[in-house]
Amino acid sequence: MPASMELIAELERKANGLRCDVVKMCYHAGSGHPGGSLSAADMVAALYFHFLRLDPGNPKWEDRDRFIMSKGHACPVLYAALCRRGFFPEEVLWTLRRFGSPLQGHPDMKSTPGLDMTSGSLGNGLSIGVGMALGGRIAGKDFRVYVMLGDGELQEGLVWEGAMAASHFRLDRLTALVDYNKLQIDGENREVMNLEPLVGKWQQFGWHTIEIDGNDMAQVVRAIEEAQRTGGRPTCIIGHTIKGKGVSYMEGAAEWHGRAPTQEELERALAELGEKGGNA
């Protein structure tokens, strides 16, 4: 059944709220990674506010769906989603990267309620997701595992070891989402180390692939629904996105991979985003 207009509009508001949180968090922290958080915001919002089976009152619930942010530097958007989903109060968001904060510079599953896996060193999340999905199968549970991958980290060889294993073990409860924003620290993927043909690579590794505009909520929702319906093999959703999406001066600018906004830049970003949405 196609997702309702109301659902899409609501998830778009949630994504916008996450974007506001991200720029505020990075401003308060004085560092962090806004660019890759903003590009991923729509896919993260769809998962946390619609698809993931979670219980914020019981973060370690054995039957919960799992999410791994393999591109761990995009943790601001994940922390914002966990907060707005009810795992911890808002004031915690503004402690990002501070000494003693439960929000470490890169995700630490022991520190943050609701966080399923430690990450930050790139290229590891897919294989860990394979292990989670195998654990669910052995335990006879029906939870799903979602792994968000950055495009740059697809240059790590281990990603493809994990991709091979996921299709070998026919892990149809495992879904990879590629935040394909085309930029990495040193510039464009295609200049640093070309990833193309990317859809073909995943197909050749035995995955069901879906190519979408990863910043279009209706397409994101449809793609995840299709992944859930796909049996016998894992699904990879390749979401074309814009790094820094939603803040004009961050969009498509590699420098915003890992830099915090000044107060003036923050105000401009919030004005553009309208600081609306369901979170305020």
Partner: protein, 313 residues
């Protein structure tokens, strides 16, 4: 009864038994199941056996993911690949979150012999010992290996256990008890203490016999757990015998010798000699020939014991 037996065959049988006791035990291998002897578990519990192919980083990362779902994964491969190729997966995704993953390796040390340097792990204990949360075990005998495997699985948290490749001499009898972090004092003595792990324990016992013939009474400790080190056993040996020799099939830097040296330096400075590889790689050959060339025979332990005793104040 056989006087020599591979640690793998003892381990493989125990692993299958453990599979019956722990329904959440999952065994992973990386295309070495006949060498690591996980095949027995695989035949009995095919649904809980995962061969990930020749992909050691994947092996460790998958094990980490399994552990988050309440499984007790045991990952098997060569010591070289577990400690070096997959080092970061072990450090960042197993030890840092403190996940309940066990790593059991083979071909540890030059005892491996014929395959040469690429397959002889001589740094693995040093690497694993420096990783927070990690427990490091090197059993000396088939019976001890059985008990060590049981203790490893009942312990909650990451454990690294290194086994050799070729048949090991039998030292203990069935029923030997094993406690993680607690050395076994297999021989009493007051003049010097030989602290050994793995294949070197039997050599230390032979060295103690040779020293006995010279009228030197050597204590022998089987330091099967390198981390956490049994500090009490080392310190009482230092105080009571005044001279120590460590012996390991590993570099003397960072492994058992390194651990003992660090402890003595800060708590009880005592003459110490370290037997093992001295900042060098091994090479291809019969293990006995290699032990001779690299100064790791019982005779070398005897000479080291004499040197340590001569340095007593």
């Amino acid at each position: 009864m056989a006087t020599r037996m591979t640690l793998q065959s003892a381990y493989g049988e125990t692993l299958r038994e453990l599979g019956g006791h722990y329904s959440n035990l999952v065994v992973l291998d990386a295309d070495l199941s006949k060498i690591t002897q996980t095949v027995h578990f695989a035949r009995s519990y095919p649904d809980r056996f995962l061969n990930v192919g020749i992909a050691e980083q994947n092996l460790m990362a998958i094990a980490a993911g399994l552990a988050t779902t309440g499984m007790i994964p045991i990952a098997h491969t060569y010591a070289c690949f577990a400690s070096m190729r997959a080092c970061e997966q072990v450090r960042t995704f197993i030890s840092y979150p403190g996940l309940n993953v066990k790593i059991v390796t083979t071909s540890a040390g030059i005892e491996e012999g014929w395959s040469g340097v690429t397959h002889q792990a001589i740094e693995d204990m040093a690497i694993m010992r420096t990783i927070p949360n990690m427990t490091v075990v090197a059993p000396s005998d088939p019976f001890l290996t059985r008990r060590a495997a049981e203790a490893m699985v009942s312990h909650r948290g990451p454990v690294y256990m290194r086994l050799g490749r070729n048949p090991f001499p039998v030292i203990y009898q069935d029923g030997v008890s094993f406690t993680l972090g607690k050395a076994i004092r297999i021989r009493e003595g007051e003049d010097v203490t030989l602290i050994a792990c793995g294949i070197m324990v039997e050599k230390a016992l032979r060295a103690a016999e040779m020293l006995q013939a010279e009228g030197i009474r050597a204590r022998v400790l089987d330091m099967h757990t390198i981390k956490p080190l049994d500090e009490e056993a080392v310190l009482s040996a230092a105080r009571e015998t005044g001279a120590l020799v460590t012996a390991e099939d590993h570099l003397v830097a960072g492994g058992l010798g390194g651990a003992v040296a660090e402890l003595l330096a800060s708590r009880c400075p005592t003459p110490l000699e370290r037997i093992g590889l001295q900042d060098t790689f091994g090479e291809t050959g019969d293990p006995e020939k290699l032990f001779e060339k690299y100064g790791m025979t019982p005779g070398d332990l005897v000479a080291a014991a004499r040197r340590a005793i001569a340095r007593k104040g």
